[in-house]
């Protein structure tokens, strides 16, 4: 393994320190290494909190900022943070209108979140939890679908609604509506190494790719021979459009998220083909983002996300944000 790290056990605190120091006007570390906004939200607004393992930078803590998250709880490498720190984050994000707790559907995160919700209720805290689960590789049952890059539009629209001063029920409804209307598929062509152990997290042949692979290299639908950008985009987009039951005339948000080692060059080539296919089908590409929002070390591959947008979701997507890794002016 060739990585610029110091002691493996210090990776998480050191990366969080670096993240906060690189944007001191926007975010700070507080309490037990929680990433919070440097200038807290005004009272009377809903707080927005998330949790997740580290090693996926800039996800998830890079999206703390005005218009998005209030507090992010980062766990160890690829491992969910425990309930005590999540509870601390929820207490911190209480500005008098309750907290929206956004959780990506992964076993460890959900377990921590459920325990946190029980503890928060016992304290009488006003919290609503929304689960993102949009990875169609998990099968038809929503419980089996993992939360991938779809966290990004959910943070964005729910965060914008909270910033506008909408009540908790409305923020929750917006997050759920965004969640219901998005679908993601991932493809991997090369493994990541676990930065603490130095071991590869999955095996894939030199000439192979795997569609449906999760954020931590959890296997998907099986390895297949490596295909061109166009062929890969066609296979994945067809599956996504079918699952979403997308119709001509609908407005879509498209995100192409690089896994860490796939170049922007490749992501643009893929996006170009996605654009052509949508055009041919009469589906409107309303908004798009191409880049790295959640990565897995030097894993190569990408996630393709599509989401059906309505006028309100589009307005909230366009609202300002100063989060270090998602600035909207």
């Amino acid at each position: 393994m060739k990585k610029f790290i110091n002691k493996p056990e210090n990776i998480v605190p050191e990366l969080l320190e670096g993240l906060a120091l690189s944007h001191p006007d926007k975010i700070r570390l507080t309490g037990s290494n929680l990433v919070a906004r440097a200038v807290p939200k005004t009272r009377g607004k809903v707080g927005v909190v998330t949790l997740g393992g580290s090693g996926h930078e800039p996800g998830l803590s890079g999206f703390v900022g005005e218009g998005m998250l209030d507090v992010s709880v980062a766990g160890e490498i690829f491992a969910a943070p425990g309930a005590p720190r999540c509870l601390e984050a929820i207490r911190l994000a209480q500005y008098g209108a309750g907290v929206l707790f956004i959780v990506l559907n992964h076993a460890g995160d959900v377990l921590s979140a459920n325990i946190t919700m029980e503890l928060a209720k016992r304290e009488g805290l006003n919290v609503k939890m929304t689960l993102t689960h949009e990875d169609i590789a998990g099968g038809p049952n929503p419980e089996d679908r993992r939360g991938l890059v779809g966290f990004l539009p959910v943070y964005k629209v729910a965060g914008a609604a909270a910033e506008e001063g909408r009540p908790l029920d409305a923020c929750f409804e917006i997050a759920e509506r965004m969640g219901r209307n998005m679908r993601t598929l991932a493809v991997a062509v090369q493994t990541a190494t676990h930065p603490s152990t130095g071991q590869p997290i999955f095996e894939l042949g030199d000439d192979e790719m795997e569609i449906g692979m999760g954020q931590h290299g959890e296997a998907g639908t099986g390895a297949m021979k490596l295909k061109s950008a166009d062929e890969t985009a066609e296979i994945m987009l067809e599956m996504l459009l079918k699952d979403l039951a997308a119709k001509p005339g609908e407005e879509m948000l498209v995100i192409v998220n690089g896994a860490g080692a796939t170049t922007l060059m490749e992501l643009f080539i893929v996006f170009r083909r996605v654009n052509q296919i949508l055009k041919a089908k009469g589906i409107k590409l309303a908004r798009s983002k191409v880049g790295e929002f959640i990565t897995t070390q030097e894993q190569a591959g990408f996630q393709l996300m599509i989401a059906r947008m309505d006028a309100e979701l589009l307005r909230l997507w366009d609202a300002p944000s100063n989060a270090p890794y998602f600035v909207v002016r």
Binding site: S32, G53, G75, E76, I77, F78, A79, A80, P81, G82, A83, P84, R85, H106, A107, G108, L111, S112, N114, I115, A137, G138, D144, R146, H194, S196, T197, Q199, P200, I201, G214, H216, G217, E218, A219, G220
Partner: protein, 220 residues
């Protein structure tokens, strides 16, 4: 061992579990590579370190408080699903009325059963799903059976360790239905589940930790 079970006895059990995990953490990470992210050993090291701290000399003297603190501390180990469930397990033990002044194997079984009940409130996983439950459930059933048969605490822990080990070994032939590994489905067959393996190691350590201090250790 006949008399009551003290906080110090529990501390010895925890110490034994920590020694077992420390000896085998690399193997646990290796097992985790087959279906997870390959760091279960690291997560378990953080977990046992926190358990030991909660039972360290100078801490609270009563078992209930120690278990509560241990549970809370393990929840905060940030080790994903395994440390959340183990935190719930140890914290849940504190809910057992027998915690007040545990007298023998039957009370020890009741304490472990309270921990298991708390875990079951958080996960729907059952034995057969290829998770830690494959080791935990038979271990606690064996503890109860030994207690009912009038065995000593050390003998009961010996039986529990054996059942946990067999349960963990049996996961080799199972298909994962919970956690990250479920996405691998049939591909998980042939691999030992790391959570079941670490639970097996902990129970072996509970037995050795207490058995050795009482000079009763045999082959677990």
């Amino acid at each position: 061992m006949n008399g009551g079970i003290t906080k110090d006895d529990f501390a010895r059990m925890i110490g034994g579990a920590a020694a077992s995990i420390r000896a085998q953490h690399a193997l646990l990470s290796e097992l985790d590579c087959a279906a997870g992210d390959g760091d279960h050993g690291g997560a378990m090291l953080r977990t046992v370190e926190r358990l030991e701290k909660a039972f360290a000399p100078g801490g609270p003297e009563d078992l209930k408080t120690c278990l509560q603190e241990a549970g809370w501390s393990v929840l905060g180990a940030d080790g994903g699903a395994s440390s959340s469930l183990l935190g719930i397990f140890f914290g849940g033990m504190a809910d057992a009325p027998a915690c007040g002044a545990p007298a023998g194997a039957s009370d020890l079984a009741a304490i472990f059963e309270a921990g298991l009940a708390a875990v079951r409130r958080q996960t729907k996983a059952q034995p057969g799903d290829k998770t830690m439950m494959d080791a935990l459930v038979p271990a606690i059933a064996a503890l109860r059976a030994a207690a009912d048969a009038g065995k000593s605490v050390t003998e009961a822990l010996h039986d529990a360790a054996g059942a946990a080990h067999s349960g963990a070994e049996a996961t080799r032939n199972l298909t994962a239905r919970y956690g990250r590994a479920k996405f691998l489905g049939e591909q998980t067959r042939g691999h030992l589940d790391p959570g079941a393996a670490s639970t097996g190691l902990m129970f072996e350590g509970f037995y050795r930790g207490l058995g050795e201090s009482k000079g009763e250790s045999g082959n677990a």
